[in-house]
Symmetry: C2
Subunit: 374 residues, 2 copies
Amino acid sequence: MPLSPSRRNFISTGVGTSVGLTTGWLVGQNVNLSPINWKMVSFLKENAQKFILYKAPQMICDRVREMTQGGFNIEIDKNDNQKIDTQDILKNVSNGNIQCGYSGIYYNDERYKVLFFGCAIPFGLTPQEQTAWLLYKKNPDDVLTFIQQIYSTKLNLNVIPFPAAATGGQMGGWFNREVNTVTDFKGIKMRIPGLGGEVLQKYFEVTLDKELPGGAIPIDQIADELKQDNINAAEWVGPYDDFQLGLHNVAKYYYYPGWWEPSTTFDILVNRNAWEKLPKEYQRIFQTACLETYTKLLAEYDTKNSEKLQELRRLEKIGKIRLVRFSNEILQVAQKKTDELLTLYSSNATFKEVYDEWSSFKIKIRDWSNLNKI
Amino acid sequence: MPLSPSRRNFISTGVGTSVGLTTGWLVGQNVNLSPINWKMVSFLKENAQKFILYKAPQMICDRVREMTQGGFNIEIDKNDNQKIDTQDILKNVSNGNIQCGYSGIYYNDERYKVLFFGCAIPFGLTPQEQTAWLLYKKNPDDVLTFIQQIYSTKLNLNVIPFPAAATGGQMGGWFNREVNTVTDFKGIKMRIPGLGGEVLQKYFEVTLDKELPGGAIPIDQIADELKQDNINAAEWVGPYDDFQLGLHNVAKYYYYPGWWEPSTTFDILVNRNAWEKLPKEYQRIFQTACLETYTKLLAEYDTKNSEKLQELRRLEKIGKIRLVRFSNEILQVAQKKTDELLTLYSSNATFKEVYDEWSSFKIKIRDWSNLNKI
């Protein structure tokens, strides 16, 4: 759904008076400048504040405010009354209703599915490879990255995405029953979004939570729904965030690896007109704050997940949970079916173009990753 | 050797007039401010400009200048007449002769060996794990990271290091003869610095270039010395940088993995007094520019190394070179001897303290890395 009409004039009021700043530093004096004010929406609301991922927007806003001495203020819209899904955020940033939005690529329109290559592809890149991919330019002189260009040149979106958060490798999720073979997935009801969910739905006969009568399950109800066996499995992020959700208290089997999301990344989407009106130094500050936050959150995930994993191993010792690797059969079929799904979407020319570029990038960088592995 | 006396007054002239800035943004007006001017030395001189690693200082200086609209200028000292080794840079930044320096941890004094934990330990962390380690704080509320604290609290250095560049995993290097067993290393003369070099010297009976009559080989002479068989092997970085050096033209065997440097990282060392005199927003800008550069260079290394690896595979096909994995025997002995070397250095209490913290961190994060690997 669209944002409320009252938000529609932020760009004009916020950015219009900023032109003076571009005249630059003159022996250290900036005179007659008004602060620039932006609003940001987030796909994560207050009920997500215990997760590491939730922090990115505030970190970026704080950093930008500090670095500009309050000259560039981005305020996060904390209005929880509206449910704003990720595709709404994309559209509202694109049409200028709001200057920027924190979002993951969980879209419904088929034509936006290509954007998953900037977020999470099953059996895709490792986090380190993903970072290289997100910053990859076809021509080193390009201002925009390959992925950033797709938004405007192929999808007519008036949006520039900046990588702003990364979870690192995820887990396969919590199951209240064992899944030893592909057949064991049949009939399971599972909370899982994205292309991984599509693979499970199309080829493993899993019912996704969004198909259930109540629709997609809100974050704070996932544990309850699993406990009551309304769903049989749920994937969220990894050891740290999953603990925050309490999933270890309501299901016994914690599967790995999270083949559907080996390196999920999240962006701040920025309206291109608002961006172009920013003084150059504020553009740099914003970009730099985003990439710094991306790197810091990935590091925090790795550190905190590794600590929680130790706790999981203790819980396994006392028999409370079980940590189980997906069988080779499951992983092999999942890989094959992922390829089928991506080939299916390649009937769309843009999807094919990006898939081809990504595949070629993946082959080369995986060769390198494997070679220098000790 | 120390820097020239004429550089000793940079801090007083550069930072003294900056106090006005800390009074902050007042409806967008900063009045009566003078630019802050710093100098930076780099351990890499002009003869290194074709390597990716060389770029970090200029990227950071450019970024800081842009983000502050020229309010904070850091100039790189390009005086190539002086050979400034990494330990000189450490000392000169610590005693305030210069505000900052770009450096790798290639030190000679035993008491500084502990700082290798912030740079490169043989069989150490992967690049992704290393990033988490560099940002790791014992207490989340600490201002400084664990590694940053070691400099002042344990070594009495008036220095704060900021991670600013990463090569990613390195290669084992170019050899003009085959090394199938540990015995084959005996008598080899090799260009290799750091703890990896110490392992080879102490336990593999390798002669290091720095022990040769002419001393450590300057960068631009490595290929020639290898060609003339004055040395039999040389490790530099990885596919891209090694190509720049032309090593593929003078040696046949390219060994991997680079067990001595699985994730080498480089810092900008900053004098603490100069740092504390910076306005807070300039501190943030500097920090953020460093971490952004770190992430970008690692991504660039991964992408360009993966492209050069394809070229290496073509050269292998036509018989020009051979890509060879170190034998399991070599890797196992090297791992064991690395542990011995680190235990040896642990007779120093500070080294032991950091080694213990690092080892515990490594066990946990490696468990997590392995678990979520697909």
